[in-house]
Amino acid sequence: MTTRTTCGALAALLITSSVFTTAACADSMTMWVRASGTNAAAHLVDLWNSTHSDKIELTTIPDNQMVTKLATGVQAGEVPDLVSFDLIYMPDFMKAGFLTDLTADLKANPNFASVAEAYVDIATYEGKIYGAGFTPDVSILIWNKDLFKKAGLDPDKPPRTIGEIHEDAKKVHALGADTYGFYFSGSCPGCNIFTTSPMMVAAGSKILPANGSDDALTGDGVKQVLETFREMWTEGLVPKSAQADNGANFTALFKSAKIGIQGCGGFLISDLKHDVPDMNFGVTFLPGVKEGHVSAFVGGDVVAIPVGSKHVPLAKAFIAWELTDEAQLEGLAKNNILPSRPALADNKYFAADPRIVTTAKALGVGYVPWVYHFADMVNSDSSPWINMLQRAIFDGDVDGAITEARDKMKAIAGE
């Protein structure tokens, strides 16, 4: 009954607002956003629409169809005015000439100087800038304080190296056969580039090659992390189902309070607060081999203007607006979403929850690989990245796995 009333009211609201829109607005822009970024983008767009006479219409595109949709759209001249997509595709899109050059506008924008460096890097191609950070996400390490306490560990002391992760995981698993120390989605390439690769980077490794002659999987970090994961796997500290998880249960087990420690994204914080309000959990940076070495994978969406956009000046105005303090704080931070300017991490909305502040600061220590063919090297279900993880962790052939992946990554980068 309540639901129905709410829906009715909502429908009425939608109808009135759309009538109002057509009557009052000067122009309306269209914007595509990938499904994962929709919630965050909607907060910003709503705020813009309530303060501007030119409205934005948001269209959600399922994550794995965004590239196809944008690529075919650009070629057919059927593009939205703005697009928000996974930042990792930026190099491919910039090289293909899909995006409008924003260099002059962004360089002249005082707020742009304080945007997280990772976002500026990923949106720069041959000295020109084609996009701006929009709805950030970043990877962090999350631990279950309740389980830590039960296991006799200090609930407020997170593991600070991968070695400590291993030790703590053992103690948590000792609580019972149904409780596990650690979790990662063993068949999900995207989850692991997000949460596992930063551990390798923190341990001094570089993961992906930018071109055919560039190095891949350098240093000992890759090997050390894979060996630790392998040990945790053989010791049963990770549930058996992890091997087959293609991401569908990336966060499900942690929510069921069966996992001590896992790498995850900042998005999990608000999910957990909503779904399991009683759980005590902590958030820290993803560690490397040595104490004090940390990293993160900077993810989330960038916003850009496709070539063929019919409202370029207006779209530029929106991008300038979304970097302002008002948009960053009232649009993002107020809704528990990270601002793309790390300096705004200490704000009144985050003050109540230091875990979100930690996450926001992870943006400043994080990396994002500037490479073409990221999908091929990493995200694909048959990528060298996921093959390496599986062969090393589940088969135990760490060295062979790394060598094989290195060759294949370089071959892809050279295409």
């Binding site: 075919t72 087959a244 249960n249």
Partner: protein, 293 residues
Amino acid sequence: MKRTRPSNQWQGWLYVSPALLFVGVFVLIPLFQLVAMSTTDRSLLGGGRFIGLGNYIKIWNDAGFWRALMFTIKYTIVLTPILMVLGFALALLTADNTPLKRLTRTIVFLPVVIGLSSSSLLWFWLFDEQVGLLNKLMTDLHVIAQPMVWFVSADLAFWAVVISITWKVLGFGMVLFIAGIQSIDREIMEAAVVDGAGYWTRVFRIILPLSRRIILLTTLVSAIGSMLAFDQFYIMTSGGPRGQTFTAVYWIYQNSFVSFKLGYGAALSIVLTVIILVFSTLQIALTARSQAR
């Protein structure tokens, strides 16, 4: 054969022409464009130079594609008989119009109306080791001691998909078979009963031979569908473990839309289409022969 004596050829073709025109414009033209694309190194991101048969030569050496194709054929060979035999059995079971049988028919047909991606996810959920009810049910009934991880082994993953698809499309064959069974002349059946033919004799001597054409055509449609399987594997196995459950179309999808190699994907599509076309032509020739009897 029930067919009228030659009418005007042109009149007959006039009736068929809208369909031919439609397929010509909306299928054959894009297909030719696909063929043209297959001779270039066009990327999803644009560009494309003519490279002749380069893509086709590459296919010849693409072990991944041939493995995926063999896997698809295995899937088709395993699934098709299951669907046909079970579909026919259910058709026999429910061909009469008693209320219970009508209900059975409706329930069996129900999964046909769900989208393939929804039904695949539904089964993915049921099979899941953690949140899935199938494992819970099997452990509660003491069939297994511990929840199984279905998608960790290529064989189990294969059977999980086969089970889910059987559930999903069984009703389709059943309905067509019921149509075939119910269209059999009552007099033939009654004459057989008078002659003292038992139930199974009637099934094997009358119903099966007289439903032959519909069985062959349903087999064809079903087998082609299996050869083009994609969504169920994309959703349930992601091609894993270790790429052992990629189907041919999944491989095409990976190359075209994940690796952005549209030209190469086009060539793979053409090769697959030719394989299916040859296979279907054989089947149709077989059907036509049985029809002529």
